[in-house]
Symmetry: C2
Subunit: 337 residues, 2 copies
C-alpha cells in the first residue's frame, strides 16, 4: 500500500477531537503532508491547518483525501459519502481508517471506478504475503515492544526516526498500524493481516537492507496481553529485531480491555529476548520509554532514574525528555551501523 | 460455520490421492457422513465409497457437496464449476476447502443466490469475533501442541475424542483447521482469521461449558516455528488449556518450510507451560504423541519408552498404539472431570 501525498484531511462532523485521533497523529508527524482540512458543519475537531474547498486543495497539489476519523456505529453517514464522492469526482484518491471498506459503499465504488482513482482501506489489506521464513537478512532492525497496548510504541519509533536521522543515521519508520500507515504513506496494519501471515508481512515491510540501515518497526500489543500476544510474537519473529525498546505506562493497573495485571518491565525484557532469539539470537534491549504524562516533572525524572538503574538501560519519556539517551545507546551498541 | 450433513464428496479429476487429502481425512473420521463420492473422468483418487449421481445422492439424503480437493494453479477449472453449479441446482449446499472463494465464481454465486443454497469457504471466514478476553471460563480444555507443523495434532485430538468417549467422558473435538472443520461440521480455520482475533476466535469455538466437559482443541503450528508461532500463541491463550499433549515427528531435521532445527519435546513442554500460564496458571502436559510411521515396530516401542521415561509422561503413537495411555493420564490428573 502506497498512498499518494500530500493529503487533504477529512474530519467530517465528528463530535470531539478524540474521534479524529488518527488525523491529529498524521498532522503531528507529517505536517508537511497535511496541506489542509475539510470539515462539515458542526465539526468539533480542528487540526489548526487551513480549511480548503476541493478546488483549493487541488490547486495546492493534494493527491489523497484522508478519512482519519472514527464514525459512530460503524456506518458511513450519507453526508460523508456525498463529500467523499465529490472528492473522487474532483480527482483525488481516498484513504480511510474506517472499519467499513470504502469499496463496500456503492456510490464510492462506482465513482472510483469511473474516475480511475485509488481507494485505500488502511484497516484492511487485500495484499497477500508469503509466510515468514525466519531467514537471517541484512540491515539492522529495532522494534518497540510494550508492557501493554497503547503505551507509546508508535510515538517512540517516530521520535527515534527523527533523533537518529538528526544524528546522521540511516533510519526509516516502518508502520504496522493504521495511523502509522498514513504517517509513512505505506506499510500494513498488521492486526488486519490473516493470522498465518503475520511474520511474513513484517518480513515484507522491513526487507533486507544495507548493513548500516535501520528499520524502526512500530510494535503492537504485548507478549503478555491475552488478546493480542499472538500478533506481538509474529511481529517479533518477523522483525528479527537486533534491538528493542520497552514502552511502559506507569499508572496503569490492568492491561487494556482485560482484567490481567501489567507485567513488569523486567518480565517484558526477558520474554522478548527469550522468544526473539528464535529469529535473532543477538537481540538485545537498548532502552525503556516511559509515558510519564500523569506525573509531575520531578516524580517523572525520579522514576526514570530508578528504572534506568534497575535495568541498566537508558530510560526516558520521548515526549517530555526526548530520545537522545536511546540514540546514544544505539550508537554505542551498534558502532558499525 | 455449520455445514449440513451428510456429504457428497466431490473429487473432480485430481491426478492422485494426495490432492484429495482433505477428502480422505473426512472419510476416515466421519465415514457415516460420507454417503458417496462424485468423480469426473480421469480421477485418480477413490475414497472407496459409492459413486453417486446427483439424484442418487439426494435420494440418500445428502445435504452438502464437499470440495475436499486441491486444484492445480489455484483456479477452479470450468468443468468443476459445471458440476458444482449442477449440484446447487439440484438443491445441495456447497462447502469448499479451495483457496478461491466459491462466491468469487459468478456462475456459482448466481446459482446459489437463485436456489438459496449456502456456500461455505472453509479456508476463509466472514465471521467476526470479539477480541480474546482471557477471562477464566468453566469446563476443561485440552490442546495439542507440536515440535513442528503437520506432526499429528488433528489426528491426536480426534483419536482422543473417540478414546475419551469410549471411556464415558464428555468430550468434543474442536476444529481449528480446514479438514477439521469438515470433520466436525463446524469450527473455524484459525489461520484464516484476522490476526487481532486469534485468541478471541478460540474463545468462541470452545466456550464456557459444564465443569466435567472436555473440549479437545486441534492445535496449529508450533511456538518454535518462525512462520506460525503467533498463531500457536494466540491459540494457546484463547484455549486456556488445562492440559496439553505434545505431538512430535522424530525423523524430521528442520521445521517445515524453513531452515530452523526442531525444538526438543522438553523445550516445547517448558515454553507451553510458561506462556500458557498467562490465561491458565494450572496448565500441564498429559502426554506425548509421536508419529513413528518411519520406524520399525521394535524401534518405535523403544523410542516411546525412552521419551516416556525422560519426560515422566505417557508417550504413544496414536495411530499405531492407540491413546489409552493418554486417556489414563487425563482421568488420573483430572479425577473430577
Amino acid at each position: 500500500m502506497q498512498i499518494a501525498t500530500p493529503y487533504l484531511m477529512f474530519l467530517g462532523d465528528v463530535p470531539d477531537a478524540l474521534a479524529a485521533k488518527t488525523a491529529y497523529g498524521i498532522k503531528d508527524w507529517r505536517p508537511e503532508w497535511c496541506v489542509g482540512q475539510m470539515r462539515l458543519p458542526g465539526c468539533k475537531a480542528d487540526l489548526g491547518i487551513p480549511d480548503l474547498t476541493l478546488p483549493e486543495a487541488l490547486a495546492k497539489g493534494c493527491r489523497t483525501l484522508v478519512v482519519g476519523v472514527v464514525n459512530a456505529g460503524g456506518v458511513l453517514p450519507d453526508h460523508w459519502v456525498t463529500e467523499i464522492v465529490a472528492a473522487i469526482e474532483a480527482g483525488l484518491d481516498v484513504a480511510s481508517g474506517l472499519h467499513v471498506r470504502l469499496g463496500a459503499v456503492p456510490a464510492i465504488a462506482e465513482a472510483a471506478e469511473r474516475r480511475g482513482c485509488r481507494l485505500h482501506d488502511v484497516r484492511h489489506t487485500s495484499e497477500t504475503f508469503p509466510t515468514g521464513k525466519g531467514t537471517k537478512r541484512a540491515g539492522r532492525r529495532l522494534l518497540t515492544v510494550g508492557t501493554d497496548c497503547s503505551v507509546g510504541k508508535k510515538y517512540t519509533v517516530l521520535a527515534l526516526e527523527k533523533g537518529m536521522r538528526d544524528r546522521g543515521l540511516d533510519a526509516d519508520f516502518r508502520a504496522t498500524g493504521q495511523t502509522g500507515v498514513f504517517i509513512s504513506g505505506r506499510g500494513v496494519a498488521i492486526d488486519a493481516v490473516v493470522a498465518d501471515f503475520i511474520s511474513g508481512a513484517v518480513e515484507s515491510i522491513a526487507p533486507e537492507a544495507a548493513p548500516n540501515h535501520w528499520d524502526l518497526i512500530e510494535g503492537q500489543g504485548s507478549l503478555y496481553h491475552p488478546s493480542f500476544a499472538g500478533v506481538s510474537l509474529g511481529l517479533l519473529h518477523g522483525a528479527q529485531a537486533d534491538a528493542f525498546v520497552v514502552c511502559h505506562e506507569p499508572t496503569r493497573t490492568t492491561m487494556r480491555g482485560v482484567q490481567h495485571p501489567l507485567p513488569t518491565i523486567r518480565q517484558v525484557i526477558d520474554l522478548t529476548v527469550q522468544l526473539g532469539s528464535l529469529t535473532n539470537p543477538d537481540i538485545r534491549p537498548v532502552g525503556i520509554a516511559v509515558n510519564t504524562q500523569a506525573l509531575p516533572e520531578d516524580e517523572a525524572r525520579a522514576l526514570l532514574d530508578q528504572i534506568a538503574t534497575e535495568h541498566g538501560l537508558p530510560a526516558t519519556d520521548p515526549v517530555r525528555f526526548g530520545v537522545e539517551a536511546l540514540v546514544d545507546r544505539i550508537v554505542a551498541d551498534f558502532p558499525e551501523a
